[in-house]
């Protein structure tokens, strides 16, 4: 697990950067997604598998979780089943995964905010996270 700094510093009157966790066992994928998010000013925490993701969630107020479905030790479906309360979850998946986004929705659909197939377009990922935060803020009001 590692925490990346936000891409830009925040002025005092700006809201605090949002914390996004990326749980993916593929290091290259995880780092690229983390760098994309950090470049947009998000704080980013990385988890290399589902258990590491749960460990972070137990102690950190993650605003949005970007969750790979296929991971060792604990896969994304099990993470979805165990997290509560759950932040909005953007599920990323490969066409080669054992599980499909349909499996995730049928078993824990209420926790899945959006599904994105890999390879993920940066604009789609950023849009999904921004939409999740907007919905989160709407619930907080």
């Amino acid at each position: 697990m590692s925490l990346s700094d936000a891409g830009q510093g925040s002025a005092p009157w700006e809201p605090a950067p949002r914390l996004v966790m990326i749980a993916d066992d593929n290091e290259a994928m995880r780092e690229t997604l983390a760098d994309i998010m950090a470049g947009e000013g998000y704080l980013v925490v990385e988890a290399e598998d589902g258990q590491a993701a749960l460990d972070v969630l137990a102690s950190s107020p993650v605003d949005v979780l970007i969750l790979d479905l296929a991971m060792p030790r604990m896969d994304g479906i099990e993470v979805l089943e165990k997290i509560r309360p759950a932040p909005p979850v953007v599920v990323v998946y490969s066409a080669f995964d054992y599980y499909t986004p349909g499996d995730a929705r049928s078993r824990v659909g209420s926790k899945v905010f959006r599904t994105l197939r890999k390879p993920v377009a940066p604009a789609q990922l950023l849009s999904a996270v921004a939409d999740a935060i907007e919905e989160l803020d709407g619930h907080d009001r």
Partner: protein, 92 residues
Amino acid sequence: MYYLLFYNVVDDFLQRRRPLRQEHLELAREANERGELVLAGAYADPPDGAALVFRADDDSVVRDFVARDPYVREGLVKNWSIRQWTVVMGDE
């Protein structure tokens, strides 16, 4: 038409790319949003290069990407090549 761009990178690429990473990702993101860059990623085990797939009318789009890529500019890419690719299958 599709074009393949191949990069071969220096041995300490992962260390040297850090300060250039955001500029490179921004370049890639813009090309992706224009519909030019279709797929991109590093080789696995060992990560000693990368392949990028472009969709464009001619290779000038690819050559422009290379010219603007900080990894090339700063010498992290030892050499690169472009090949036109005859795609015969897929649903992209």
